[in-house]
């Protein structure tokens, strides 16, 4: 399966990564070669195989319904590039 430039543009939109024309072209090449490599799997018949659902043979551990976290607003906002005392600040969304 070759990954053409339009496909690269589409997936880069999904992944929220902007690319210029040059990058798009080189990624098209790289991704096509990677997909060729991946497609070796097509040689293997896996119709009757069940997919791996978890590496670990254990059950999901659960926790009690207790409030043990939060009230750390300063910590939460500390690393944000744009914030005010109470909120994260982001450019407006267009809806």
């Amino acid at each position: 399966m070759s990954i053409d430039k339009n496909t690269v543009k589409h997936i880069s939109k999904l992944a929220r990564i902007s690319l210029d024309e040059k990058k798009t072209a080189s990624l098209s090449k790289d991704l096509t070669s990677i997909m060729k490599f991946i497609e070796k799997l097509n040689k293997l018949n896996t119709e009757k195989t069940k997919p791996l659902t978890s590496i670990i043979d254990a059950s999901l551990k659960t926790r009690k319904d207790e409030i043990k976290d939060g009230k750390i607003r300063d910590q939460i906002l500390k690393n944000s590039p744009e914030k005010n005392e109470e909120f994260f600040v982001v450019p407006k969304v267009i809806e």
Partner: protein, 488 residues
């Protein structure tokens, strides 16, 4: 009794159309902490004070699931008579938005915790069964505030990670009225079980409404549009009405319906398109590798089943049988768990029929006027019961009881005390009443003569006069009986 037939159709210029509606209800789980983190879920806290490192998706943070939220969703599933899936999987739903710090929402895609079930509605035209497709657990998102700054939006992650139950109905609903009934029933069931408080103003319950139309008689479903995030029943009804009409108009003019997501504008009462096709999300679901599959033991399901309270449908059947209520009355009295509890408290020591009437008519009028839930009723069940006992024993008349009822509202006063203090005890001594009646008749000889010669309406006049003299305290039935004998 079925008073009317189902009659919600859109009469287009050319054809008669029916509306097909499916609902995806998002119900916040009543739990102290969030689904995958230990932050509080309480409503109304200061921004970003109920946020942990996990909720805000810092590098290296991992989810740990809340056992209680699992149990709450199982209980809800049982309340919906649904199949509980012993094996389910949590998947990541990937998309970007300011209120989604991880860049994905942990949800359930192909293997939800609850499968098919059913909700039964009592409509004026008969019983309506609404199929439930599934219920799954997922994280709620945070909140973006767009109107505090012209260039920026502000993000509050308090709600990010709160447990939601998404309840998906089959496309079985056919009118705004049915949607109203369905949402209220769902809400009631969850409130009964205690799994969601159903408080729509606080955002505990909201729905995405899927609407399509088809000509009456057609078997195929039309293209549907999804109206996202409607947070009141009234808006749901209005949005459906608008959207159905919009679709009919489009189709009758030869155009096609674009399958899309729309928003309901509450001010204009219209729906508008939210996203163009190109921006349509590709959620790229895959099982969350930070979590193992959820494998439940049947013994847990059995245990939770035993813990369920009596549900509205069961209670309704029991009320009809045990308390001799009509389906209409039973419906009202079981619509909220608190109402049914109030009722059963009142009838412990007082007459059922009177209790039914006083609650449904008199008490509800007060509650509606003052906009109070029954849990904040100005009159307690105990005191209402006392009032009804006094009516039954003849201590006061029904009319006087209404006066006492008014006075009781001022601080939930004991009706016995009111009656004593204000001398409102009904006059039921036959000798006294006989005296009053003879007095009335003697003062109105001419009217007595007119009555005896055929003017039977004057009977009411004599009763009225007797009541006046007794200041309303005369026992009306006795007055009637004695008057009858005296007028022979």
């Amino acid at each position: 009794m079925n008073e009317r037939k189902f009659d919600y159709f859109i009469n287009g210029e050319k054809d008669k159309w029916e509306v097909i509606i499916g609902l995806e209800v998002h119900a916040q789980v009543s739990s102290k902490s969030k689904l995958f983190s230990s932050s509080s879920t309480q409503f109304g806290a200061k921004p970003n004070t109920q946020v942990s490192l996990v909720d805000s998706a810092f590098p290296g943070m991992l989810p740990v699931i809340n056992q209680f939220c699992i149990e709450q969703s199982i209980k809800t599933g049982l309340g919906l008579k649904a199949k509980i899936n012993l094996n389910s999987v949590f998947d990541r739903k990937n998309y970007f938005y300011a209120d989604l710090p991880q860049g994905y929402q942990i949800s359930q895609y192909q293997n939800p915790i609850v499968g098919e079930g059913e909700v039964v509605l009592d409509m004026p035209y008969g019983t309506k069964r609404v199929g439930i497709e599934r219920l799954h657990l997922e994280q709620d998102a945070g909140k973006s505030i767009h109107d505090m700054d012209p260039e920026n939006s502000f993000v509050d992650l308090n709600r990010s990670g709160v447990a939601l139950m998404e309840i998906v109905s089959k496309p079985d609903l056919r009118s705004p009225e049915e949607v109203n009934s369905y949402v209220k029933k769902l809400r009631s069931i969850m409130r009964y079980i205690g799994t969601c408080d159903g408080n729509m103003q606080e955002g505990s319950l909201r729905a995405d409404v899927n609407v399509s139309v088809r000509k009456v008689g057609d078997k195929k479903f039309g293209t549907r549009c999804e109206i996202k995030n409607v947070n009141s029943i009234r808006f749901m009804e209005m949005a459906i009405a608008f959207e159905a009409k919009r679709q009919v108009e489009l189709l009758e003019s030869g155009k096609k319906i674009d399958q899309e997501t729309r928003l309901y504008d509450t001010k204009k009462n219209t729906t508008r398109s939210m996203r163009s096709k190109e921006d349509a999300h590709d959620y790229r679901y895959f099982p969350d590798p930070d979590l193992l599959p959820l494998n439940l033991d049947k013994s847990l399901i059995d245990k939770l089943k035993k813990e369920l309270p009596e549900l509205p449908d069961q209670k309704k059947e029991r009320f009809i049988k045990e308390h001799n209520l009509s389906p209409y009355e039973a419906n009202i009295l079981v619509s909220e768990k608190e109402i049914s509890e109030y009722y059963e408290k009142v009838i412990k020591e007082s007459d059922k029929k009177l209790a039914t009437n006083w609650i449904i008519v008199e008490l509800f009028a007060v509650l509606n006027k003052k906009n109070l839930p029954i849990s904040e009723s100005p009159i307690s069940a105990k005191n209402l019961s006392s009032l009804i006992k006094m009516i039954s024993s003849g201590k006061i008349s029904g009319k006087i009881a209404k006066v006492v009822f008014e006075k009781m509202q001022n601080g939930d006063r004991d009706p016995n005390q009111i009656v004593e203090k204000e001398g409102l005890i009904q006059q039921s001594d036959p000798k006294e009443l006989e005296q009053i009646i003879l007095d009335v008749l003697s003062k109105n000889q001419d009217k007595v003569t007119q009555y005896k010669s055929g003017k039977v309406k004057l009977f009411g006049y004599f009763v009225g006069e007797a009541m006046k003299i007794s200041k309303g305290k005369a026992n009306p039935k006795l007055v009637n009986d004695i008057l009858k004998t005296k007028l022979k």
